[in-house]
Symmetry: C2
Subunit: 226 residues, 2 copies
């Protein structure tokens, strides 16, 4: 679905050493988590441990460089994907590309570990869903919710977190390094139909609960004085 973009151009041999170290770090962090040492990264990049810190100052500096690069990778992919609409999630599209798999693994670790990349990526998700909902409402495909922004945020938490938890569970159940393509395919297989069903036909048989919660909220915001 995606072609190589300028961001990720060139095979490993063409990249500058700094870029090779950074890419190796993304791969190793993604596979083994952020607890891994600089030595392992240096080895994966085929350089000495000292050179890593020479280029990035410290482990945190390296981490920041990885964050920035993944952020940029996702941003570029999003730009490209906006011109080629698809029913699949951006992440699902990305995971299908061998080349992006390490970055996806890194992104997931970031979500779990909760660094600054997680926050910025999450806010992007919220915006995307907002826009997606707005488009759907305009075309009549989506029933306009009471509060679009709140609903988008809620969906972002549930779907983002749901995927995270699924992958966590998948990793625990399948020994060895995670195959993100297989994992996300299984995610679709298990989740898509039940989710679409709930979003189409609802889950609650009547609006009693909804009416109650809504009334509580409104009486809390505006105390009874009239």
């Amino acid at each position: 679905m995606f072609k190589r973009s300028a961001v990720s151009e060139g095979s490993a041999a063409d990249l500058s050493t700094r870029a090779r170290i950074r890419d190796a770090a993304i791969a190793v962090f993604g596979e083994q988590g952020f607890g891994v040492g600089v030595r392992a990264i240096a080895q994966a990049a085929g350089v000495s441990p000292g050179l890593v810190n020479h280029h990035f100052g410290s482990k945190d500096g390296l981490r920041e460089a990885c964050d920035d690069h993944v952020r940029e990778l996702v941003r570029a992919a999003k730009m490209e994907s906006m011109q080629r609409p698809s029913s699949a999630t951006l992440l699902q599209q990305l995971a299908e590309i061998e080349e992006f798999a390490p970055a996806m693994a890194y992104l997931m670790r970031s979500m779990q570990a909760g660094g600054p990349l997680m926050v910025s990526f999450f806010e992007h998700m919220v915006e995307d869903i907002e826009q997606y909902l707005a488009t759907g409402i305009a075309s009549g495909a989506i029933r306009p919710p009471r509060d679009l922004k709140a609903t988008a945020r809620c969906l972002a938490y549930n779907h983002g977190g749901g995927m995270m938890l699924f992958l966590q569970h998948y990793e625990a159940a399948h020994p060895g390094p995670v195959d993100f393509r297989k994992a996300l395919r299984e995610y679709s297989d298990q989740m898509l139909l039940p989710m679409v069903e709930v979003y189409t036909h609802g889950l609650l048989a009547n609006s009693m609960v909804y009416d109650t919660v809504l009334a509580q909220r409104q009486s809390a915001e505006q105390p009874p004085n009239t």
Copy 2:
């Protein structure tokens, strides 16, 4: 809502040293994550670092003991909660109790880190939701989904993961140790209404997407040969 149970009985002074170390470990792991050292735990428990390993053999042994204790804590709370039905989630009820706050923090870290506690706790969640759905269907409050087990699993991923991600985001936005009671109250405030609305009125305006996905599934399971 919950009274003290046998599992957590006694103030800090009454507990055996082993139990005090274990409780301190749960608190420190919960606050700072599993990367924290044995020394910090020993200090929090008011004992020497050597004594920790004397009682638990290793850091992993200590971790296992913490897992077991939290598992047991949640199991006991669930037993108690089953006799006192409430609209709030078990976790929300637990978080309201000062005494359980450290265990809840520990549980969240476990979900993030993805140890064996995460898997067993998740499977419990799936079972709970299954039973909750079945009860609702029997009483007519819930519209029976096509595949109850798959739907329960899907809801468990989304709601469990959603809460996880919310707390992660909350932690990143609020410096210092996380106040789980405040966090979970905010979670309810933001999530409850949009979620109930979606579960009551749906999100998709028509059943086109659902019909398409369902048809794809069925033709995939049973290839066209007739």
